[in-house]
């Protein structure tokens, strides 16, 4: 008999109803549930001045369509969950770093964002205790945090013997802005900006999750037309990023035609979002209560016309890549991850689906438009770079169909409900399938209806450790390809 509270995706419940058990029960139930096939979506510690600290866990897949919440009081130390539940690894390191609560028995307890410098001085880039390998013939390769391309900062440390990587450790945190702390006490006029810039390439994804959490807390009902337009925007974001990723993967293996064409087509898709709201990344499109911009008849026609062209062009460029033997030879078998490992470390999104993990929030915890229009879930079994590329191509095709359908059958009605103040003492978990995977916002309000907890989990947070696992036993020259096949966000992780 478990004590979890099962709630639907982005349904509010009184914060007082959040079940609280003693730590032993909490630990046992979470570990058992994850061992039994549930997935750990959030594990965080809430520290409030007025009350004791508590641990909150949110699980997915325990109860159909619902999320399961459980909490327990915690002191300055507790027995770490990670040894029995590897998916808690990153969460527990975050807890120790943010609150000072020690998960005793954690196998590799070090900060995930703020690595202090020697003797507590200011952090130095890439200076930290690293997992090392000894021997006269092994060597270490350090890459970053400043990279050769125009990409975000992160430090990678490889333990190599010749060209073979035995271990990769990833150091992040260079993009930390303190978003979660800044959100507490909100919402205010800056909240929307924080949400849209949590990860620039996932503007719609994070804004959508935030809107749904806020609407749940305020008790706002979103009009059908707004839900459809949100779905449009979300799928356009997925299209733009997946097409861009396939182009970048082609570039990494040195296959020019697909690289150049996909770069251009990605721009075309971004321009469709710009036609919707005036911004290529969809800033300002979503607002609590609905959307800020309508799609009228002529615009829908125009978008459909552009979509036709994009379908043809993207099909040609991407099929060409998957038909070219040298590309397949380069991608197949590189950076493979087993389904079992992917499950254990809690991978999400296309990276998990490429390993044969059959998860997709749009189907499993359906929300807004996806309750009425279903998108098939695409999985592949190999878990290698090819699989991660191919799952993206499958998803592109389904998203194209979905966007066309929605544009042809937009429901009539208003596009926005006037925003209402948040109700006091409420809690909610909103989950959305962003293009990179599930985005989770765990939010609760205090007695004045202000945020007293705003926990953001970007899909990159789940997946960075997956990238490190993938490199084991691989050629170091294959790292850029593996990295690109995940294409994780640094700022989404660092918050």
């Amino acid at each position: 008999m478990s004590d979890f509270l099962h709630v639907y995706n982005a349904h509010a419940f009184p914060a007082a109803d959040c079940p609280q058990v003693d730590f032993e029960t909490f630990r046992r139930q979470v570990v058992e549930a994850v061992a039994g096939g549930a997935r750990l979506a959030v594990l965080t510690a809430q520290q409030a001045a007025s009350q004791d600290s508590r641990l909150i866990a949110v699980l997915m897949g325990l109860e159909a369509e619902r999320l399961s919440v459980l909490s327990c009081p915690v002191g300055s130390s507790y027995a770490a969950l990670t040894p029995q539940c590897p998916a808690a690894h990153w969460f527990e390191r975050e807890i120790a770093e943010q609150t000072g609560i020690q998960p005793a028995g954690h196998p590799w307890l070090k900060p995930i964002r703020f690595i202090p410098g020697p003797q507590g001085s200011a952090p130095l880039p890439g200076v930290a205790d690293m997992f090392g390998m000894a021997g006269s013939e092994v060597h270490e390769v350090a890459v970053g945090p400043v990279h050769a391309g125009v990409i975000e900062p992160g430090h990678f440390r490889f333990q190599c013997h010749g060209e073979t990587v035995y271990h990769l450790e990833i150091l992040l945190g260079y993009q930390h802005r303190g978003v979660e702390r800044a959100l507490r006490g909100g919402p205010d006029r800056r909240t929307r900006h924080y949400m849209e810039t949590l990860a620039g390439d996932t503007t719609i994804g994070h804004a959508h999750t935030w809107c749904r959490a806020t609407e749940a807390l305020a008790g706002t009902r979103v009009p059908a037309r707004a839900q459809a337009i949100r779905g449009l925007a979300a799928e356009l974001e997925r299209l733009a990023n997946h097409i861009g990723d396939l182009g970048a993967l082609a570039g990494d293996v040195g296959f020019l035609p697909t690289q150049s064409y996909c770069g251009r087509i990605r721009g075309d898709v971004l321009n469709m979002t710009a036609a919707l709201c005036g911004n290529r990344f969809g800033r300002g499109l979503l607002c609590p209560g609905g959307v800020a911009f309508d799609v009228d008849g002529p615009l829908a026609e125009e978008l459909l016309r552009r979509l036709e062209r994009i379908s043809t062009d993207a099909g040609g460029a991407i099929e060409l890549m998957f038909r070219t033997p040298s590309v397949l030879a380069r991608m197949e078998g590189v950076g493979a991850l087993s389904t079992e490992t992917a499950r254990q470390i809690g991978l999400v999104g296309p990276a998990a689906r490429a390993c044969g993990v059959d998860i997709d929030v749009r189907r499993d915890q359906p929300y807004s438009i996806y309750r009425f229009s279903h998108i098939p879930v695409c999985t592949w079994s190999d878990g290698d770079c090819f699989a991660r590329a191919y799952v993206r191509w499958l998803e592109i095709q389904h998203s194209l169909t979905f966007v066309k359908e929605q544009l042809r059958s937009l429901p009539a009605g208003a596009i926005c409900q006037p925003p209402q103040p948040l109700r006091a003492g409420q809690m909610t978990v909103a989950v959305v399938e962003g293009w990179r995977g599930q985005i989770v916002h765990l939010v609760s309000t205090d007695a004045a209806g202000r945020f007293d907890l705003y926990k953001v989990v970007d899909p990159s947070f789940y997946n960075w450790f997956g990238l490190a696992c993938v490199l084991r036993g691989q050629q170091i020259s294959d790292f850029p390809l593996c990295n690109k096949s995940f294409n994780l966000s640094y700022c989404g992780h660092d918050l």
Partner: protein
């Protein structure tokens, strides 16, 4: 007259070498549906670099500074030994083919030394890859030379491609020409860091071979390295064009024009290869080079049969 044309070839090679990069990039741009960079971009880059100062790491020694100068000197010297089809080399003597091969070897050697001198993990990795792959490319190059030397009965490069005509693509001679050319094409792509072996456009240090060895060079040094690389590309393209090209007339200038056209055609061919295939995994490169050596060995067998 013949000597003047030979000297003219060296001058043309020194002037036109960076143009080959422009030709390759233009072909790649056309395949990708882009307009592409200016044909003369490589000249602009080298001119820009030559105007700059250089920054030297404190961990480097004179070996690091010597690298670019010696490698340029070696490749220019190898140009003097190089015929272009019927246009004989400026300097030719029996056995010059070995000197030619090892002048290019010297160029690689000093580049590798300069890379190791920095003590950087990246450069060490690049040096290790460069040495590994050229170790496998050298047999292919030498076996091809042995095949042609045995066929033409001369031990000078100029005799290999000049006085001796294979009668082009028919009979045993044609088979030998084709086998050696195929083998040397693989050597050309490897030695000049082109796709499918290396990607000259990538900015990802971990996958580079040649580029990663010169990461720490800047300014004039980098300019010299880029120029030397362009001349090296010309050297290999001229060797390949010289073997493949059927222009063997009595007029030296026509021979030269034909040869230069052949070199440009090789550059276009490299552009087409780079546009239509992806890079090999580094693990697969040795397989390609061993296959190239086997083709050259087959040519030797055909000659000695």
């Amino acid at each position: 007259m013949a000597t003047a044309v030979s000297i003219l070839h060296v001058v043309l090679a020194l002037v036109l070498a960076p143009l080959l990069l422009g030709v390759i990039n233009r072909v790649k741009a056309k395949f990708a549906g882009r307009r592409g960079q200016p044909l003369l971009q490589a000249y602009y880059d080298i001119a820009k670099l030559l105007r700059k100062g250089a920054v030297y790491s404190r961990t480097t020694t004179w070996v690091f500074r010597l690298g670019p100068i010696v490698s340029l000197a070696a490749v220019v010297a190898s140009l003097l030994l190089l015929p272009l089809g019927a246009v004989v080399a400026v300097v030719a003597f029996p056995g010059d083919l070995l000197l030619w091969v090892y002048l290019l070897g010297l160029m690689r050697f000093v580049t590798v030394l300069a890379a190791l001198d920095t003590g950087s993990a990246f450069e060490g990795m690049g040096a290790s890859r460069e040495v590994q792959f050229s170790l496998l490319a050298e047999p292919a190059l030498l076996l091809g030379l042995v095949a042609l030397a045995a066929w033409s009965g001369g031990l000078s490069l100029s005799q290999l491609t000049g006085t001796h005509s294979t009668g082009w693509l028919t009979g045993t001679a044609g088979a030998i020409t084709l086998l050696v050319s195929a083998s040397w094409l693989a050597v050309l792509l490897t030695e000049n860091a082109r796709i499918p072996v290396d990607d000259p456009n990538t900015h990802l240090e971990l996958t580079m071979i040649h580029e990663v060895m010169v990461l720490d060079h800047g300014g004039v040094d980098l300019g010299l390295i880029q120029y030397a690389a362009a001349v090296k590309l010309w050297v290999f393209a001229a060797l390949l064009a010289g073997v493949l090209l059927p222009v063997r007339t009595a007029w030296p200038l026509v021979n030269l024009a034909g040869g230069v056209a052949g070199v440009l055609a090789v550059a276009m061919g490299v552009g087409v290869i780079e546009s239509t295939m992806a890079r090999l995994r580094l693990l697969r490169v040795p397989q390609m080079l061993v296959a190239a050596a086997v083709l050259a060995a087959l040519a030797v067998v055909l000659v000695l049969r």
